[in-house]
Assembly symmetry: D2
Homo-oligomer: 143 residues x 4
């Protein structure tokens, strides 16, 4: 499994008047890291979307430990914690690059829906190859 | 014609590490003000979109005169400067509420496309009622 | 106590390719609603910030129940659930305007820091008038 | 001179309900590309900011030629077109990676201000080493 961290250089437009990254942007970094992680492990969400299945966020949480600033680079580590074809969960930890300083810890929960009906779909029936790829990630993850 | 200015309270997440509104957000305020202006004048872009016509931005420019800060309220005045069924242009001026202090001046140019083919459409043929409503705005505008 | 809901018209730039509001924007709406709620109840965060105290987010969570779309207006109801001068917690519920349809439910936890030292401050000692105003909100809240 | 293009993978949160990147995000990509370009050429804006000089945007414009979508990667090429210590101008062109397809063309104009007084500064007097580095970029640019 490819466990490489997602690298994100803090952008000026991501900072706020406290001169730190605005807390809402870490939620976006979680998405960026999740999409990278999936693509690196054979389950590209671009492909899934273009095959008619969308993956909305059902719930999200984030704890802010330390702040990133302009000039910093963040590294986010992603872990797939649950998947049964209907529901999928991830956990995230962001670090200041090259350090043990934790920026944020978070989780997200997702489902799968049809892009036209917006009804839930079971990935096992709808996209079995993708389902297998995600199951493989789960198996290889040391949970 | 309804010339009322679009009121926007500066949000914390719109500020950057200079403690002013990040310049990209004024581009978003222009969109917000344009949609308000259209809706107030009988050409609701929500309705146009849901009838299958999208209105992408072809070009945009903005000059930054003064900065808005957390706690400020901005007022944006919109003017329709051109419309021929195929192309539509607006100009914008944002003020600090209750003052003559100009925050930004800008313009935007738009076309109309079909939501499925993404090909340009002539609003006169596609949505004649909307075309008439926009022409009416242009006629009533003191350009 | 002023319990009025924070009104937010969905902006085009807040939608994503699922044609719904991107989930990160609800985190921003929580901030917008919280700042409105505080201002309406005599504890204006603009004033607090300009007196040298910042109120960073310590943790956040959000559950997504239904989706808002372009053309929708959201109403967010805010409740202060904890405050002791050092820590402050809120809960949020967003609705589609004029309906019982819940968009999101969330919570946020905050602390208070000095804008220069970035060290935690006790609001009771630093800004006693603000501390009293927030305590008053808590007392009047039916928790 | 380092002319390498700035690579940016389209993020899901950057798309809008037209399923293309929202036009305001290209303004942010211009900033990202400009900061990369400066850093790669010996004039790191992080360093300039932390030495007390801010570089606000005075004006911006952008023409939208083609749309980037989820799954695309954009490459932005930056050119320094003017610099005299007081004013600095750039032009930008974004491409779909690995193609000649132009996404956007734009320009930006900047000045230099003191972070405390917010008054304009002449970089020649305030940060002569940075001024020399930027002049060197201009000299090596084939305008």
């Amino acid at each position: 499994m490819d466990n490489s961290r997602c690298i994100h250089r803090v952008q000026y437009y991501e900072t706020d008047r406290m001169a730190i990254v605005h807390h809402s942007n870490y939620i976006r970094w979680m998405e960026e890291a999740r999409l990278d992680f999936m693509r690196n492990n054979g389950a590209d969400c671009v492909d899934i979307e273009y095959r008619g299945v969308q993956i909305p966020v059902v719930s999200i949480d984030c704890r802010y430990k330390n702040s990133a600033r302009f000039g910093d680079v963040a590294e986010t580590e992603v872990r797939l914690t649950f998947f049964n074809g209907i529901r999928m969960c991830f956990s995230y930890r962001s670090f200041l690059q090259g350090t043990d300083i934790v920026l944020t810890e978070g989780t997200s929960e997702h489902c799968f829906i049809d892009e036209n009906t917006h009804r839930p779909v079971n990935l096992r029936r709808r996209l079995p190859d993708v389902c297998d790829a995600i199951k493989k990630i789960l198996t290889e993850t040391d949970n």
